[in-house]
């Protein structure tokens, strides 16, 4: 059947199982938008193309399906760059489709022409420029295949206006991917399994380091089985939170820069690290030379380029995590590691006393309390928390207890402020039955708050908690710790978020005291529609513990003891 490129585009998306796309129209993509009327796909109009890419990303992370964003050439395409880089760093499968000026105009600096395949080369898993209608179907199929297979990632397809307008015979079967060099299906050799098992069985003080790969591979149950059978405690990366239920006795908590002290101490004193779907990012290792020096290391990872990149390992099992664990699990011998688990438990020491959680609020509202109460109110229901980047993100990671995979969506690798609201819109679109909460700071929220209109236009019942401390809090904390409290450019004026929300037709409440937190959360949950809560929290609170950038993982800055004394005095 003969079809225009524009029709072929939507037809291919439908056949790839796409139900929603997030986008913004413009000149070079107009033929595609014109053909949208023939499609079952629901298009969600973002307010900025960066928002559209974060929405696609949030959609992908919430569901495991490929998220799709679409934009025009030039500024439309360049506005996507931050969203694409965010998805790349966190291995999120999205397909971005951009319009391009007509083929004959390419290279002429035509109106709204940008070499977007050139621009996005280092921040996409793969990208393509389509100048012929006949190449479009195959390229779209390849894009989806590459985005979701192996280590997932963003793929961009740039389609010239004339390729959208031209017609050709559409044959789905003939348009099969032709990627002779792409081999995402590696698996380890038997000898490597044997080596890994030998290390595992001889270890006295092992720790599992679980990352987002566990979630991406759908291997959470297998992780738990491994941990339980061999009695190995599990430390999680930020993006790995939810891979192991927080209530589980073998769940240690988050590792790294703002990880709990006992988690980092366990890693530093381990004799074996079993890294599952994580990449030893500098935020989890601290100083690499002093990182887990006494530990042998097993690395199970789908991307061979990650092996020995940051940390040198003893055994690498390169392959799909779920397939590797399927092979490994029956051969893992049960073990008892009571002494090691007791040792770790003892490292908690005074952590609980220093914990802001247990401190009296003295009339102040602490972000940690807000997060705790939010967790307490929403626990047991299917909740997805989407966080922005900064202090609130770390407090969320510390105090919201994630029991399920895909219950936390956050920008880890790139640390993209402004991510939360659009990503939450994507998450809610993918999982309408789930309760979706945005937890964002007053800084990051202002970067993309224009997407409130998208949320309202789409009738999406997203709940928003702004952790409002009047500062770019994490930067302020670094200034406090490392730049002699020189608060340059971190005090932040914000609009009245309550009135702002009301201008969009969104109900909103301001919360200034601890006792109001739970009722406000309940009010938001009972309200049939989106709601925004503006939490006015303590302005100069810091995230503890903290491993300074480049410091050894066990050199943690702890919450100062004067607070503990204050607590004891009362």
């Amino acid at each position: 059947m003969k079809m225009t490129g524009a029709r072929i585009l939507w037809e291919c998306l439908e056949r790839e199982g796409v139900e929603h796309v997030f986008g913004y129209p413009g000149g070079a993509i107009l033929p595609a938008y014109d053909a949208l009327k023939h499609s079952r796909i629901h298009h969600i109009l973002a307010r900025h193309e960066q928002g559209a890419t974060h929405m696609a990303d949030g959609y992908a992370r919430a569901s495991g399906r490929v998220g799709v964003a679409i934009a025009t050439s030039g500024p439309g395409a360049t506005n996507m760059v931050t969203g694409i880089a965010t998805a790349m760093m966190d291995s999120s499968p999205i397909v971005c489709i951009t319009g391009q000026v007509g083929g004959r105009l390419i290279g002429s600096d035509a109106f709204q022409e940008t070499d977007i395949t050139g621009v996005t080369l280092p921040i996409t898993k793969h990208n393509s420029l389509v100048t012929r209608t006949a190449d479009l179907a195959r390229t779209i199929r390849e894009a989806f295949y590459v985005a979701r297979s192996g280590r997932p990632g963003p793929v961009l397809v740039d389609v010239t206006k004339d390729a959208q307008q031209g017609s050709c015979e559409f044959d789905w079967d003939a348009a099969r991917p032709q990627l002779p060099g792409y081999r995402p299906d590696l698996s380890p050799a038997e000898a490597e399994y044997a080596q890994a098992l030998e290390l595992l069985h001889s270890a006295k003080r092992p720790v599992i380091l679980a990352g987002q790969g566990v979630i991406a591979a759908g291997a959470s149950a297998q992780l738990r089985e491994l941990a339980e059978r061999a009695q190995i405690p599990v430390a999680l990366t930020l993006l790995g939170l939810g891979a192991m239920p927080a209530w589980h006795p073998l769940h240690l908590g988050m590792m790294g820069m703002h990880g709990e002290a006992w988690v980092n101490l366990a890693i530093q004193n381990a004799d074996l690290l079993i890294a599952l779907g994580m990449r030893f990012d500098d935020r989890v290792t601290g100083d690499k030379d002093s990182y887990a020096r006494g530990a042998r290391k097993i690395h199970v990872e789908i991307d061979p380029a990650e092996i020995n990149k940051n940390v040198k390992v003893d055994v690498a099992l390169v392959g799909d995590l779920s397939a590797v664990l399927r092979e490994l699990l029956p051969r893992v011998e049960p073990a008892d590691r009571g002494d090691w688990l007791d040792w770790i438990n003892r490292q908690k020491g005074d952590a609980a006393v220093r914990d802001i959680q247990t401190l009296p609020d003295n009339g102040h509202l602490y972000a940690a309390h807000v997060v705790h109460d939010l967790w307490h109110e929403t626990r047991g229901s299917e909740t997805v928390v989407v966080t922005d980047v900064g202090q609130h993100q770390m407090w969320e990671a510390q105090y919201y207890k994630h029991d399920h995979p895909r219950s936390l969506i956050t920008s880890g690798g790139l640390g993209t402020m402004g991510f939360a609201l659009p990503a939450a819109i994507g998450a809610k679109t993918a999982r309408s039955e789930a309760e979706v909460w945005v937890v964002a700071g007053d800084g990051g929220f202002q970067m993309t708050m224009a997407e409130l209109a998208t949320m309202v236009q789409e009738n999406l019942n997203v709940r928003i908690a702004i952790i409002n401390n009047g500062y770019l809090g994490m930067v302020r904390q670094w200034q406090e710790f490392f730049y002699e409290r020189n608060y340059q450019a971190t005090p932040l004026l914000s609009p009245d978020f309550v009135r702002l929300a009301e201008a969009y037709g969104i109900r909103a409440l301001r919360v200034t005291e601890r006792r109001q937190v739970a009722p406000a959360v309940r009010a938001a949950r009972e309200h049939d529609g989106p709601m925004l809560l503006d939490f006015r929290v303590e302005q100069e609170d810091s995230v503890y513990p903290m491993v300074a950038a480049g410091a050894a993982l066990d050199q943690m800055i702890r919450r100062p003891s004067p607070l503990v004394e204050t607590a004891a005095d009362e």
Partner: protein, 187 residues
Amino acid sequence: MNNRSTLHTFVVYVENKPGVLTRVASLFRRRAFNIDSLTVGRTEKPEVSRMTITVEADPDEARRIEANLYKLVNVLLVDDITRQPSILRDLAMIKVAAPHEVRSHVLELVKVFRARVVDVARESLTIEITGTEDKIDGLLEVLRPFGVIEMVRTGMVAMRRGKRALAAASATPPVEAFENESAVPQA
């Protein structure tokens, strides 16, 4: 950790498509691997191009370079032939000042190095030499005192010795391997 940096030679087969050279070059730039030499050209198969890349790297880096090259969708095959029996060739054209008084001396050197003269002008000779980089460096060294006016080198090309071909196209997995049935697992 083994930190010995040595010159590694990679033979890389890539799809003969626009932009592939940029992808490879961009990878080396982005990962801060320092290319010593990169050549690209056609192969026995029109849809496949072949690159020879030499790069300063320790053994770990070399492995990561190989793994990163494979991450490029258009890369078909990577072979680190550094420690393999192989033939390495560079080609240079050297225009050297050779007035009448010294001409016979220059020609003598050309003969010793088994190079050949490809252009003769009144005051200069252009010499073509093929060989290992060392050999070319050697000739260059002895020509320099006469005055090298201009020089161009192709960069290194390499091939394993023996019968076995680095058959990129035959390493191509069957088309069925690209069937698109694998849905992403739900956690």
